[in-house]
């Protein structure tokens, strides 16, 4: 399986990654090679195989419904590039 430039553009958009125009051919080659490696999977008959999402055959544990967290806004927002009045700021979103 090889990918072309439009695949790279599409997937970069989906993943919200800005890729320099000049780097696109490199990504095309790399991703095509990687998908070529992955291709071998297609040859395996897996009709009756149950997919394995997780290494351990275990069930989800449940947490008691208790409020255990306290307000740490100041500490958390100390990490943020832009805040105002307790809000995280991003460029204006148009709906």
């Amino acid at each position: 399986m090889s990918v072309d430039q439009s695949d790279i553009t599409k997937v970069a958009l989906l993943a919200r990654l800005k890729i320099d125009e000049a780097d696109v051919p490199q990504y095309v080659e790399n991703l095509s090679n990687i998908l070529g490696l992955v291709e071998q999977m297609g040859e395996v008959d897996t009709d009756n195989v149950v997919p394995m999402a997780h290494p351990l055959d275990a069930a989800q544990r449940l947490r008691a419904d208790e409020v255990t967290e306290t307000d740490q806004r100041d500490a958390f927002q100390g990490l943020a590039p832009q805040v105002e009045s307790g809000l995280y700021l991003v460029p204006k979103v148009i709906e």
């Binding site: 993943a15 800005k18 991703l31 897996t46 999402a53 958390f76 204006k92």
Partner: protein
């Protein structure tokens, strides 16, 4: 003193032969001296370390002592450490100081271990050579022109050069075992779920597992006694009693059934490495083990499958790095889209971007079944291979890496060749099994690792098997000359 094992250091601290402050200062000095050449630390926490050492000395005096009290240790920069920068070796997190502590590092602090600093790694643990770090490549202490392996390259380089007596690492596809092999150390990847993942920045959640990097299996057991255990903050953490990993180290291994997967000894393996592995296996036979050939028929599918599962999970795990709440944000974003794409485009390195794109691709509409679902099914087949094998053997052995440490830059232009160097380690992560790499000899002055794979939750047994070998050999005590 810097060449001693943790077992020895722990005894010296208790006897008062050395104080933690003295020991910590010694290692801090060594870091100052050698880190410029090796680049194995991203952050050195000198002041905090000396403070923690002083506190440990008070505990030692008061007799309130755990085995690691006062012992210096380095942590891979993937573990969040409260108040100390955690970068994952990415520009994205160059300014990130977590307001919380990972469970794993918290447990070491509680045991009285002294953190020397945070070690370099491949960016977001994606790499097998430690060349993808935003902070530059790490060098192999056995040959500065070569890679230490990855992604826990800083941790192994630091321990191999005796800049720290032990370090933590994480292993998603071999990231503890392969660098341990390439730098002549003992590295253990525990069973998935044995060590909490809370506070450990995720690469591929269903594969990631933290473990110890040490000189010896005995030291690894001491670290495991601290690291292992249930954590209510991690849904994938296993509620299961933690044994004393040191208890069974000396058990005899007469009659131990060793399986050698024929697929691990095929044409991809360097002959010289194969000879070292053969010799190690002979040594086990001499210790009373019984060796037989086994087959793990889906071995060849492990790398392809991994390069669907791991990128798929990472593409989603890394979506939170968006320049909004923490981490890198691009200058002057024009709009929201620009903010996202440039912050992420500029904040992530090339390998991380490649994997995110692969992951987004294999999960996208129209490809999910052929790639992701198929990979999950093959994951089951790979796992079943091991299950079947463990019905007739106790431990599986083989090479950790097909070759010794390669030269810096040798594979960095070709991701696929790089990926294939993890061919023997990846299947273990897919299955969630525990596995170790231990030093087994040298080829042209470069270390070779022997991989030991155990059944689920049999870390104790693996360490026992490794320890018996290390009692009979001294490969694990060899040191790179310049350090």
């Amino acid at each position: 003193m810097h060449t001693k094992t943790i077992t020895q250091l722990s005894a010296a601290l208790r006897s008062g032969e050395v104080s933690s402050v003295e020991l910590t200062s010694l290692f801090l000095d060594r870091i100052k001296r050698h880190n410029p050449a090796l680049n194995c630390f991203i952050t050195v926490t000198e002041a905090e370390a000396l403070k923690a050492a002083a506190a440990a000395d008070r505990r030692l005096k008061a007799g309130d002592v755990a085995p690691l009290t006062g012992v210096p240790i380095a942590h891979k920069d993937i573990f969040c450490t409260q108040g100390v920068k955690t970068t994952c070796a990415s520009k994205m997190l160059d300014n990130f100081i977590a307001p919380y502590e990972s469970t794993c590092t918290a447990k070491f602090a509680e045991a009285g271990a002294v953190m020397l600093g945070k070690t370099n790694m491949d960016e977001f643990a994606m790499g097998s050579s430690n060349e993808t770090s935003y902070y530059g490549a790490v060098k192999n202490p056995w040959d500065l022109a070569r890679v230490p392996g990855g992604s826990s390259g800083g941790s192994v380089s630091a321990v191999a050069a005796r800049l720290a007596p032990a370090a933590t690492g994480t292993d998603t596809g071999g990231s503890i075992r392969q660098p341990a092999a390439l730098c002549g150390l003992t590295g253990l990847k525990p069973t998935y779920g044995r060590v909490s993942r809370f506070g450990m920045i995720a690469f591929a959640s269903s594969l990631d597992q933290a473990g110890p990097i040490t000189y010896s299996a005995e030291d690894a057991a001491l670290l495991m006694n601290v690291m292992a255990g249930f954590d209510e903050h991690d849904s994938t953490s296993v509620e299961r009693e933690v044994p004393d990993y040191t208890a069974g180290l000396d058990n005899g291994i007469e009659g131990l059934r060793i399986g050698l997967p024929k697929e691990y000894f095929d044409e991809g393996l360097d002959d010289s490495v194969a000879r070292v592995i053969d010799a190690a296996v002979k040594q086990y036979e001499a210790l009373g083990a019984v060796v037989r050939e086994i087959s793990l028929p889906n071995t060849g599918l492990a790398v392809p499958t991994y390069y669907v599962v791991a990128p798929a999970e990472c593409s989603s795990n890394l979506s939170r790095f968006d320049g909004v709440r923490f981490g890198y944000r691009c200058d002057d974003p024009q709009d929201l889209f620009d903010l996202y794409t440039r912050s992420r485009g500029e904040g992530f390195g090339a390998e991380v971007k490649r994997r995110i794109m692969i992951g987004a691709y294999v999960l996208s509409a129209g490809y999910y079944d052929a790639y992701y679902l198929q990979a999950q099914k093959i994951r089951r087949l790979i796992s079943d291979d091991f299950r079947a094998a463990f019905e007739s053997v106790d431990v599986i052995m083989g090479p950790t890496s097909p070759s010794t440490a390669f030269r810096l830059g040798e594979k960095s232009d070709d991701p696929v060749t790089m990926y294939l160097s993890d061919i023997y380690t990846i299947a273990v992560n897919m299955a969630g099994l525990p596995a170790a790499s231990i030093p087994a000899g040298f080829v042209d002055g470069l270390p070779v690792g022997l991989q030991l794979i155990g059944n689920y939750f049999e870390e104790s047994h693996l360490l026992n098997v490794a320890h018996k070998y290390q009692q009979a050999t001294d490969w694990h005590l060899q040191m790179p000359k310049e350090f």
